[in-house]
């Protein structure tokens, strides 16, 4: 479950650049939200806030049902981050590691047994169509392959919350559709999802409520219960 109450976020050392203003919305556990809006509206910023890469400047925030504020211990944020999967717009793979080692990171950081990790890696990479690229260095991947690796890394540890920033912009249509079907399935199984996109065809294919941002403000919340 996610809940934001009057959340604002300002960028910069002196926090003097307003990026997000007065956001209030909530998403139930297992809810799916499209995150829409023109370029520069603040979609990536909101996702980084939900990924705990930064904290709100103002307002109250609940993530996976847990409070998020500067008063919390760092270990609290570590535990929360381990339950979130994030697909960054620029993938954020570690170039010196292979596809398999990149994808294994969330499990290795959680100290899962290595044989279990190997099974998971093979299954998930096969699913995203990278079964043959297991040992390829991340630096040698094409854009689409990087994106699929990033997606695999975001879901391998079955997080309770998945955030995706334009996760299909480097994918072919058939791959994008497959991904969407999986997102729908994960959501039905109880994973909360927020997916930022520009892709109109995609939105029409999976009809779910949207959060519509413009200049850092929430202008429409289709999931809001009146």
């Amino acid at each position: 479950m996610i809940r934001l109450e009057n959340v604002s976020w300002r960028r910069g050392k002196k926090q003097n650049t307003q990026v997000l203003s007065d956001l209030s919305f909530s998403i139930p556990q297992g809810g799916f939200r499209w995150l829409l809006g023109p370029s520069g509206a603040g979609k990536s910023s909101l996702l980084s806030l939900l990924h705990l890469e930064t904290l709100p400047t103002e307002g109250r925030m609940l993530l996976l049902g847990k409070p998020v504020s500067k008063a919390e211990k760092r270990a609290h944020f570590v535990r929360l981050r381990q339950r979130i999967g994030m697909v960054h717009q620029d993938y954020k793979l570690i170039p010196g590691l292979s596809v398999a080692d990149n994808v294994a990171l969330p499990l290795r950081l959680q100290k899962r047994p290595e044989d279990e990790i190997q099974d998971e890696i093979h299954a998930i990479l096969k699913w995203v169509g990278l079964g043959e690229r297991l040992n390829a260095p991340a630096a040698s991947l094409s854009g689409g392959e990087q994106q699929r690796t990033a997606i695999a890394r975001a879901i391998i540890h079955r997080p309770g919350l998945i955030l995706a920033d334009e996760p299909t912009n480097a994918l072919e249509e058939s791959q994008a559709h497959r991904l969407l079907d999986m997102f729908a399935e994960l959501s039905d199984m109880g994973t909360t999802m927020v997916v930022a996109t520009h892709n109109e065809a995609l939105i029409r294919r999976l009809e779910r409520p949207a959060l519509y941002l413009e200049r850092g403000r929430l202008v429409q919340d289709e999931g809001a219960t009146v």
């Binding site: 890469e53 570590v78 950081l109």
Partner: protein, 315 residues
């Protein structure tokens, strides 16, 4: 150089070996310095202990014309005790536990050999030399020389304590200097480790942010860096300490005769290289063995604190 967790595939151990290698070299150089300083400190401490205990308790009494009677023989009385016997009798009043030894002719000859050669010196009027070792806590009476010269004119008392005190003070200030030098070396080691850590942090900044985002704890990330610098510190310090042993062994061999001054030995012979291991003080060897671990700990704790501090910029 491999690190213990290089098996961990998280991207932190890849690339750029340059700052790492310079850390190894710098720690080696500083450990070399620290080892030399430790050796100096050990020497100063041994000196200080000696002057506080052993040598300060030595008193030498010289009696010229030892075999002359104390009072010239007159017609009325037979000759009394000789001057040497009179002094020895007076010395019996020294604190209990004192050991007295009058050098016999041979010992005297050996003592004077460097000056007089091996010629027959029996014709020379040699003084009597009496060596006294006081028990550990005993004090020489202040008026000893006065008493003796009053009774047996011309007697000279040499007491090590007066200049022993000064030597002890000197040894103690040497010790303090060594302590300061060690502190400085430790400070530089901290600084150098800090700089190497900062370089490592900035080249791996993106990777750290990715790992942090994936739920790596501060302890995990700091531990990965700290183990690396600790291992480099351990290796570098080991190399530096071993290198320092070379000049120190030479030095100790040369210094060995001075470390053995005692009542009996008056020779200044260099010891065999083989017996040298018995001369090198154990506390110095212990300090040398500890040095690499101290260096590793300094590296570890510096990196731990720096990385944890650096991570504070991320929520």
């Amino acid at each position: 150089m491999m690190m213990p967790f290089s098996g961990r595939k998280d991207g932190l151990s890849v690339s750029e070996a340059l700052p790492d290698r310079s850390l190894f070299t710098l720690v080696a150089m500083m450990s070399f310095l620290a080892a030399l300083t430790l050796a100096g400190a050990t020497g100063a401490r041994a000196l200080s202990a000696r002057w506080a205990g052993g040598a300060a308790q030595l008193v030498t009494v010289q009696v010229p014309d030892p075999d002359q009677p104390l009072t010239p023989a007159s017609k009325k009385e037979p000759a009394g005790p000789t001057r040497a016997e009179a002094v020895l009798a007076d010395l019996n009043t020294l604190p209990p536990g004192s050991v007295m030894h009058r050098l016999d002719k041979e010992e005297l000859a050996r003592l004077l050999e460097p000056w007089l050669g091996e010629a027959d010196n029996s014709a020379l009027p040699l003084p009597a030399i009496i060596r006294i070792r006081l028990s550990d806590n005993a004090q020489v009476p202040n008026d000893l020389e006065q008493t003796l010269t009053a009774h047996v004119p011309g007697t000279i008392v040499e007491h090590n304590a007066s200049w022993g005190e000064r030597l002890k003070a000197l040894a103690n200030s040497l010790l303090a200097c060594a302590g300061l030098a060690l502190l400085t070396v430790g400070g530089i080691a901290t600084l150098v480790t800090g700089l190497a850590t900062r370089a490592g942090l900035s080249t791996r900044r993106d990777i750290i942010e990715i790992l942090h985002g994936l739920g790596a704890s501060d302890g995990y990330i700091a531990g990965r860096f700290a183990w690396r610098t600790a291992m480099l510190g351990l290796g570098g310090s080991l190399a530096g300490t071993v290198l320092a042993m070379v000049p120190l062994l030479v030095l100790f061999r040369m210094a060995a005769p001075f470390a053995n001054i005692s009542l009996q030995s008056d020779t200044l012979l260099l010891p065999d290289w083989q017996t040298l291991q018995n001369i090198i003080p154990t506390d110095m060897l212990v300090a040398f063995a500890a040095l690499p671990f101290v260096a590793a700990f300094i590296c570890w704790i510096t990196t731990q604190s720096m990385v944890r501090l650096w991570l504070r910029r991320l929520p």
